[in-house]
C-alpha cells in the first residue's frame, strides 16, 4: 500500500526534532518542503531529522533536505540526520550528501 508521509515534531532545548514516517517522493515532497522550511524559519535553531521510520526517499526529497540546509545555514545553524535505514544512507553516500549533512 502507498504509505504517504507523516510527521511528528518535538521542541527540544536548543533544537527541533522532526520525525518522518513513510515515504518521501514527488507526491509527498511538497508537504515535506513546507514543513521543513516553516520549522527552519520559525525556530532558527538546529534541526534534527529522525529517519527511523522513513522507508523511502528519492532525489526530490534529498533536494529539499539540501534546500532546508541552505536556509538553516543562513541562521548559523545545522541539520543533523539520524537513524537512516541502510537503503537510504546509500543514497546520501552516492550523492555525496553524507558529507554535507551531519549524519548520526
Amino acid at each position: 500500500m502507498s504509505e504517504g508521509l507523516k510527521f511528528v515534531q518535538e521542541e527540544l532545548n536548543d533544537s527541533v526534532k522532526l520525525s518522518l514516517f513513510g515515504e518521501v517522493d514527488i507526491y509527498t515532497s511538497q508537504e515535506l518542503k513546507e514543513k521543513l522550511y516553516s520549522i527552519v524559519d520559525n525556530n532558527q535553531t538546529d534541526l534534527i531529522i529522525d529517519c527511523k521510520e522513513l522507508n523511502y526517499i528519492d532525489s526530490t526529497g534529498l533536494g529539499i533536505f539540501v534546500g532546508a540546509l541552505k536556509k538553516t545555514k543562513q541562521y548559523g545553524k545545522k541539520i543533523v540526520i539520524t537513524s537512516l535505514k541502510d537503503n537510504i544512507k546509500k543514497l546520501f553516500i552516492i550523492t555525496g550528501l553524507d558529507k554535507v549533512f551531519v549524519i548520526e
Binding site: S2, D25, I26, Y27, D58, I94, T95
Partner: protein, 130 residues
C-alpha cells in the same frame, strides 16, 4: 537487453500520486525474479526517479506514459514509452545531477537518451549473474 521471458506493462497518468504504483509493481516483479531486498529498494528508487521526471514535465498531447518491465531469468530491463516525442532525452546534467547520480549508481546499465522509441531504458542483473 537480456532475453526476455515475460513482459509487464504499467500505464499511468502524468500525476505525482501514481508514481508509488510504479514502485509497487517493481517490488512485485523483482521479488519474482529473486532480487534481494537491497536490490529491490535500489530498483524502486531508480524507476521512481524516472517517473518523477516524466511527471514533472508532463505532456500536452499524451494522457499517459507506459513503464515496461521486461523480465528475464536473471535480470530486469525497465523502459519507458510515451506517444509524446517531446519526452525524449529529458534529463539535464545540470539540473538533474542528483537524480542522474542516483539512477546510474543503482542500476547496472542506463540509457537516458535512447535512440529507439523508448524514452529511457535501464537494467539490473541478479547478483552472481553479472
Amino acid at each position: 537487453m537480456n532475453s526476455v521471458n515475460d513482459k509487464i506493462e504499467l500505464t499511468l497518468p502524468f500525476k505525482a500520486e501514481y508514481v508509488s504504483v510504479a514502485r509497487l509493481v517493481a517490488s512485485g516483479v523483482c521479488s519474482r525474479i529473486g532480487f534481494d531486498i537491497e536490490a529491490i529498494e535500489d530498483i524502486k528508487v531508480a524507476i521512481s526517479e524516472v517517473c518523477s521526471k516524466i511527471v514533472s514535465i508532463g505532456s500536452e498531447i499524451a494522457n499517459s506514459y507506459t513503464i515496461v518491465y521486461d523480465v528475464s531469468e536473471n535480470a530486469l530491463d525497465v523502459s519507458y514509452v510515451c506517444d509524446d516525442p517531446s519526452l525524449k532525452c529529458i534529463f539535464d546534467e545540470e539540473k538533474d545531477g542528483l537524480a542522474i547520480n542516483i539512477i546510474t549508481a543503482l542500476m547496472d546499465s542506463v540509457v537516458l537518451c535512447d535512440k529507439s522509441n523508448r524514452i529511457i531504458s535501464m537494467s539490473k542483473v541478479l547478483e552472481g549473474n553479472r
